[in-house]
Amino acid sequence: MRKLILPILLIAIFALMPLIADMVGKNALMTLSARILMYAMAAASLNLILGYGGMVSFGHAAYFGVGAYVVGILYSHWMSEVPIFGLFPGSNQLFVTLPIAMVMSGLAALVIGALSLRTGGVQFIMITLAFAQMIFFLFVSLTAYGGEDGIIIRRANEVPGLNMRDKTTVYYVILVVAVLYFAWMWRVVHSSFGQVLKGIRQNERRMEAMGIATYRYKLYAFVLAGMGAGLAGALMANFLRFTSPDMMHWTKSGEMIIMVILGGLGTFFGPILGAAAFLILEFYLASWTEHWQLGLGLILLVVVLFTKGGIIGAIARLKGGRE
């Protein structure tokens, strides 16, 4: 069962991280580790459409932000005890907020995807970017929810039986959700639908000639990806206890694309390694110089030019075999 080595190793590292951080006395390591988990989920959801489906969406941070805002908005209504639109009560329960975050980001992806998937190529990139920016400015102008300043969430959502005031507990909740998410993603990419999606990336015309109405399948993938990003965003809002329009700025969409490419486009573990590499580089480079993005840019350049298929591709070539 050599296939299980990497996932077990990854889970072990992430599970031990709070203990390691405690031992070396650097709490920042646990924060970094949690950010890697959440961005890995977001990048993996983007990888589903970008890597497996061949759709270059440049607005993926929008769904991440929508997920975060669902947590923030539900929390603020729970605090003020004013129902949303006078109809729905707020909530501070994680098992309520996470599913709603996924549904709302999925709906956003459904609307945006339904319109933008009618185009292709560069138009598709631009239209997804445009929609994401529209959502960004919508939240900037929503003064009822803090506008540019966003929403402060004073306490992470509650989970029955757990003390969510404890940062380490929140970390392990994130880890469990991430493991479940990646297990689900593993199933998706190895399913009948996953096979169709990979076919669409390679040759859409051929798929149509085999009787596959590709638009529906692409839209389905787009919605699944949006829901995944929304889930990651909802966790992020809980972890940071804060949400703001910055989470859906277009540069965040760009960072997610970089993570996917850095790790290995269309590979299962690529987004995890890509997110880890990106955030670790940011962490250490930023502590040396404020021009850390220059260093990151150079590293990205090297990866794209000299490794076929990101970190995963480099590993595969070192092992001397084809993935």
């Binding site: 199933r187 399913s191 096979q195 990979k198 051929r206 085999m210 699944l224």
Partner: protein, 249 residues
């Protein structure tokens, strides 16, 4: 006589160019009907209208008695219209078996399932194995398509079209770019399928056309100038004229 395909007064213009000029044509059930004509006669344009990639300006297309003129391409496939591409159009990163497997799966359904395992669909893979064992690609199942020779890709085009279980197969120059031996193999393969399905064969290789076709239609400047048996076509002065290009001389 029953017809699997009936085309009535089909028209398609690209600006000032009339690519399909009032074409009427039918393919009888079970026959191999060849469509020949000089370069630029509008053969590919016609094929692309039949399979739904191009929309005609006017005219009607019937498949087995059903009007499919305004149906999107995938729905026509469901009704039994299969095709091969002139320039091979395959899933290059997949293996031969994965290509055929996906074609079988596409027809079999369940394509939206996200909780199954595609490798666990035994009926799909059994059928894939069956299709491949009856083809020249039997030993190449696990080869990546990008590594196949041109002739092998042409064979794979055909196997994938067969995987959709077509009632009418549109063959867009299946011999194009093949060597003599490979062409002969393709002719044998197509001959072996005679009677199992109807075929509309677009081909430049006259040897293949005369070896396979029950009837032949000749397309010149977007118009069908005649339909007949191999002998009738061979001896028709209009056909000779079209091919020798006396109009331009």
């Amino acid at each position: 006589m029953t017809e699997i395909l009936r085309i009535e007064n089909l028209q398609k213009r690209f600006g000032g160019l009339v690519a399909t000029d009032n074409v009427s044509l039918d393919v009888h059930t079970g026959e191999i009907h060849a469509l020949i004509g000089p370069n630029g006669a509008g053969k590919s344009t016609l094929i692309n209208q039949l399979c739904g990639e191009l929309r005609q300006d006017a005219g009607v297309i019937h498949l087995a008695g059903r009007d499919i003129s305004h149906m999107p391409a995938p729905e026509r496939v469901d009704l039994g219209l299969g095709r091969t591409f002139q320039v091979t159009s395959l899933l290059e990163d997949f293996t031969v078996a994965e290509n055929v497997g996906l074609a079988v799966q596409a027809r079999d359904g369940g394509n939206f399932r996200i909780f199954d395992r595609v490798t666990g669909r035994t009926s799909v893979w059994e059928e894939t194995g069956h299709l491949l064992s009856g083809s020249l690609l039997n030993d190449r199942r696990d080869a990546r398509v990008a590594d196949l020779s041109h002739g092998e890709k042409k064979q794979l085009e055909l196997v994938m079209a067969l995987a959709t279980q077509p009632r009418l197969l549109l063959l867009d120059e299946p011999m194009a770019g093949l060597g003599h031996l490979e062409s002969q193999q393709m002719i044998d393969t197509l001959n072996g399928l005679r009677g199992e399905m109807s075929m509309l064969l677009v081909e430049h290789d006259m040897e293949a056309v005369f070896a396979l076709a029950d009837r032949i239609s000749v397309l010149v400047y977007g118009q069908v100038i005649m339909t007949g048996t191999a002998d009738e076509v061979r001896n028709d002065p209009r056909v000779r004229e079209a091919y020798l290009g006396t109009e331009d001389a």
